[in-house]
């Protein structure tokens, strides 16, 4: 039976299944719900078949299963060419392949598929912890490959073979590093074209409906990092990171206004000092970029919308860096069109009548917008409002219910209610979403998804003076600590989860490592590579040079990979062999004699005696001592013998020279 069709042992099967499961595991959460039971069933059946020596399942049944799986995938994820569907098909078929993996050939295929599955995880994230995990996964896959090819011992976890696997993976590391640095990069990732792989990622979106932000509060992953120039960080209560601005309200959901004008900078009318900083934005799959209110200049490749949103024409599907300059203002002077003004005063006509009546009564008492705003804020502050992450669900007249009944909610409820209240009182208002706060770790300011926030902006006009936008954060009236200390802290206290300093420290230091990882690895983009090429003196703009370089790199790495092979296969001699080679080396010039060196010491010395009869005695002595030392049963006093052999060698050398 040839090797390719030989049956798998239980140990080999175990390692293959282990590799498949490890490769699949980090993607399970995004796969359809039936995937996990299917995997469990496939793996259990496969082990059952192995133990009870069942014959391989009929091909027809497998075909039916494969078609069924395809239908299920289409049913769960729709049809089309997207990253989701491609990856799901790959993973599902890899798991199903186990059903027909009985021989070496199929097992090798599964191992190769495992490498692909492992790689597809990088299409979603390149986080540092994930890299460690996938290293582990690749290790197990490689070990499965190793076990398929040979088994050092019958033990299931053979430490020496595991070590050998680690060694062979370690050999790959320099090549990986080399390819990482010099393999020519594309301007954008292959999957970066926006529409093929569009999907909603975590992060702030351009709509706000009840409960949409609460998901973010649970998400501890970083949203972005801000590094301030000269470590000049603004006070915490000024850290309003502006994201999408929401204009339209349909009774439950807020959404954006579509603009047809853009600009790149705002007029600088304040003499206040600006803050300069750099943002490292995690991929969001959206087009919004975040900056402190208000951004003065849009960075290259992005522009400012009329409502001061920083907007990128391309979706942000990879780590993005940009430099910003902001003026920290809570008033922002900007003229407002009549049409916009109408939009900002709009609210669903037949809903929330109670609030509407109250606002009308307030409007009767004073016409001054600022007074109405203050009254509303006082109302939030002094009435029994609570900041809560688990508010009762609202339906129907959500504003009425919130203001007069439940009185429990978080920023989303307060911003939304406040904005509608203002509109009802005739004050143009809109909701701004974004992040508030961040953790300063001395080096940079880390803003997590859980720092997501929503606040309001009202437009104040006072007679003929130019109108301005005023930022009002009603949440700060209810829970000032939300703004002072950040959401997560409150959240943790409220949820009363285990909160130890070391966990927090660990998380913080983990993020520092992530930051470095981003800096050195994830953010190694085309421009950084070009800088490297320039240092190396390679013309990176010339396609021909790049092609030549690619070929050259492949050739060099191919040759380099021969080095370990040569090193592992090189001949290793023991001491006595080396002594013999020393003797051989003495007659290197005599090519006829030298050519006999592979024929063994006896043939060689016999011929040498003929060539150098004057050294006959020494050579005889050498031969006898040597043979006894190397082949006899009497292997003691080896050190002395070797010293003696070396002495004899010296004598022979002297005689030959004369």
């Amino acid at each position: 039976m040839s090797r390719m069709t030989s049956q798998l042992s239980e140990k080999q099967l175990f390692w293959i299944v282990f590799a498949v499961l490890l490769a699949v595991l980090p993607q399970v959460h995004r796969l359809p719900i039936w995937f996990l039971p299917m995997t469990v069933a496939v793996v259990s059946y496969r082990f059952y078949a192995q133990i009870y020596q069942l014959k391989q399942t009929y091909n027809r049944i497998l075909t039916v299963l494969a078609i069924a799986a395809m239908i299920m995938i289409i049913y769960s994820q729709g049809i089309g060419l997207s990253r989701e569907i491609s990856v799901t098909i790959l993973i599902t078929m890899t798991v199903l392949k186990l059903l027909e993996t009985y021989t070496m050939r199929d097992a090798l295929l599964v191992v190769m598929l495992c490498y692909f599955v492992t790689m597809t995880r990088f299409l979603y994230s390149q986080d540092l912890l994930l890299v460690f995990y996938l290293f582990g996964s690749a290790f197990v896959t490689t070990h499965a490959l190793s076990v398929l090819n040979f088994e050092k011992t019958k033990r299931w976890f053979d430490t020496s073979q595991l070590r050998a696997t680690a060694g062979s993976l370690a050999l790959a590391v320099p090549f990986a590093a080399l390819f990482f640095l010099v393999f020519p990069r594309l301007g954008a990732p292959i999957w970066g074209s926006p529409d093929i792989f569009g999907e909603g990622k975590t992060g702030i979106s351009d709509t706000m409906s009840p409960g949409s932000i609460i998901e973010l509060f649970m998400d501890d992953s970083p949203a972005f990092r801000a590094t301030f120039k000269d470590h000049k960080t603004p006070p915490k209560n000024q850290l309003y990171w502006r994201g999408p601005v929401l204009w339209n309200f349909d009774g439950t959901t807020w959404s954006r206004k579509k603009h047809n004008r853009t600009r790149t900078r705002i007029q600088q009318y304040s003499e206040r000092e600006t803050y300069q900083y750099q943002i490292e934005l995690e991929s969001t799959g959206q087009k919004y970029m975040f900056g402190l209110d208000y951004v003065v200049n849009s960075p290259s490749g992005a522009f400012l919308l009329p409502d001061s949103i920083l907007y990128s024409p391309q979706k942000i599907n990879q780590l993005r860096h940009y430099e910003l300059e902001s003026l920290l203002l809570d008033r922002f002077y900007q003229p407002l069109d009549e049409s916009d003004k109408l939009l900002l005063l709009d609210y669903p006509a037949n809903q929330n009548q109670q609030t509407r009546r109250m606002m009308h009564s307030w409007q009767q008492e004073t016409k001054k917008p600022l007074e109405i705003i203050n009254r509303a804020l006082t109302w939030f502050n002094q009435d029994e409002f609570y900041y809560s992450y688990s508010p009762p669900p609202l339906s129907g007249d959500v504003i009425d219910q919130f203001i007069f009944e439940s009185k429990r909610g978080f920023c989303e409820h307060y911003a939304s209610s406040f904005t509608i209240m203002m509109r009802m009182a005739g004050i143009p208002a809109r909701v701004v979403t974004g992040y508030q706060g961040g953790i300063n770790n001395g080096e940079y300011l880390l803003v997590k998804q859980s720092d997501a926030h929503a606040w309001s902006e009202v437009y104040i006009t006072d007679g003929d003076k130019p109108g301005y936008w005023l930022r009002v954060d009603p949440t700060s009236m209810v829970a000032p600590e939300r703004v002072e200390r950040g959401s997560r802290q409150i959240m943790d206290e409220k949820r009363n989860i285990i909160d130890y300093d070391w966990i927090r420290n660990f998380k913080e230091s983990m993020d520092r490592y992530r930051y470095r990882w981003n800096q050195w690895v994830r953010d190694f983009n085309v421009s950084k590579q070009q800088a490297l090429f320039e240092v190396l003196g390679i013309d990176h703009r010339n396609g021909k040079t790049l092609a030549m370089m690619m070929a050259g790199i492949l050739l060099i790495t191919g040759l380099l990979s021969l080095i370990p092979i040569w090193w592992l296969n090189r001949k290793r001699y023991h001491t006595l062999q080396r002594i013999y080679l020393e003797l051989v080396a003495k007659v290197r010039k005599n090519s006829q004699l030298y050519s006999l060196k592979n024929q063994g010491v006896e043939t060689f010395v016999t011929q040498m005696k003929i060539t150098y009869p004057e050294a006959k005695t020494q050579l005889n002595h050498f031969l006898d001592t040597y043979l006894a030392a190397r082949y006899s049963n009497n292997a003691n006093e080896r050190k002395q013998t070797i010293a003696h052999l070396r002495q004899t060698l010296l004598k022979i050398k002297q005689i030959i020279k004369h």
């Binding site: 060196k597 006896e602 043979l627 190397r630 082949y631 049963n633």
Partner: protein
């Protein structure tokens, strides 16, 4: 234990080798210029194996056999095999004795110490296999009784390589029973000239003196089995055997029995060299005679060059 054995064997190890070499030298007085072949034959004798000589007539096969028998002081018998020979002509026969009214067994020529089976391929397969069975088992079974052969039973069979009518070639399985196979070949010009000299003619007529005894031979046979083989040497031996099996031009590689033969012959060659351990050179020396009759090249050519190239191409450093 081995340590002890080797130290006690030390004193007579060299003297044994001296005697054996003296034996070889003495035989060399009659068979000129063939000391290597003589050495192999003597080594085979000490290894407890049998020799197959393949030569044209008149190249000294009989002389060699006689000389060895004389020097070792062995009983010597010779059978000339022909196609009308029956197994009983070799093994012996039970004859009805009218006086005692019983069958009594008359031992055949196989009951000796040194048997020269001349022109083995002339005998019918039936007779051939009767002899070879006796060789393999060192005993003869006749009429339900078993008769043991001599402890030092040694067969030297000769074969005429010229394809003549009325010969029965030995099958491979039977050939395997011979430890080695040799061919003396024509003597070198100088030696042949010496052959015709007066002094040689006179010396040739005299029988050689017995330098040793069959008892001594049995001791040597036992001692030779204790010759030590280091791992390295065994690796080398194994490698050579493996190469015969993977060689593209060889029909069938060596059998494990052939491997054992190689091992035994190497042991006695080491003993002849006055050592109590084997070296790769011993294995090299033993390889050709062990393989000569066993290996057949693909188109039935003799595998001489292939065998030599295998030895030459297997490196030992």
């Amino acid at each position: 234990m081995t340590q002890h054995a080797s130290t006690t064997a030390q004193p007579n190890k060299n003297s044994d080798a001296q005697i054996i070499n003296k034996v070889i030298e003495t035989i060399g007085h009659k068979i000129l210029d063939k000391s290597e072949a003589i050495e192999i034959v003597v080594a085979t004798l000490i290894a407890g194996g049998h020799v197959l000589l393949e030569d044209l007539p008149g190249l000294g096969k009989t002389t060699l056999a006689m000389s060895i028998a004389q020097v070792f002081g062995m009983d010597y018998k010779r059978i000339q095999l022909t196609s009308d020979m029956m197994p009983s002509d070799v093994l012996g026969v039970s004859i009805y004795d009218p006086t005692s009214q019983t069958f009594s067994y008359h031992k055949g020529p196989v009951f000796t110490q040194f048997l020269l089976a001349d022109e083995l391929n002339r005998a019918t397969p039936k007779t051939q296999s009767a002899l070879l069975e006796a060789m393999a088992e060192n005993q003869v079974s006749m009429d339900g009784k078993t008769y043991l052969l001599d402890d030092a039973f040694f067969v030297m069979a000769t074969q005429n390589p010229i394809d003549e009518a009325g010969t029965y070639n030995l099958p491979q399985s039977q050939l395997d029973r011979f430890l080695v196979s040799l061919s003396l070949g024509y003597p070198a010009t100088d030696s042949e000239r010496q052959l015709y000299s007066q002094s040689y003619m006179q010396a040739f007529k005299k029988p050689l003196p017995a330098l040793t005894t069959p008892k001594q031979l049995r001791n040597w046979q036992q001692y030779s089995q204790t010759i030590h083989a280091a791992e390295e040497v065994l690796d080398f031996l194994q490698l050579l055997i493996k190469k015969t099996r993977t060689h593209s031009e060889i029909l069938h590689g060596l059998s494990p029995r052939a491997g054992l033969s190689l091992f035994r012959l190497s042991q006695s060659l080491a003993m002849l060299a006055g050592r109590d351990f084997m070296t790769p050179a011993d294995v090299k020396k033993a390889f050709y005679p062990v393989c000569r009759h066993r290996l057949v090249a693909k188109d039935n050519r003799p595998a001489k060059d292939i065998i030599k190239s295998i030895v030459h191409d297997t490196e030992i450093i």
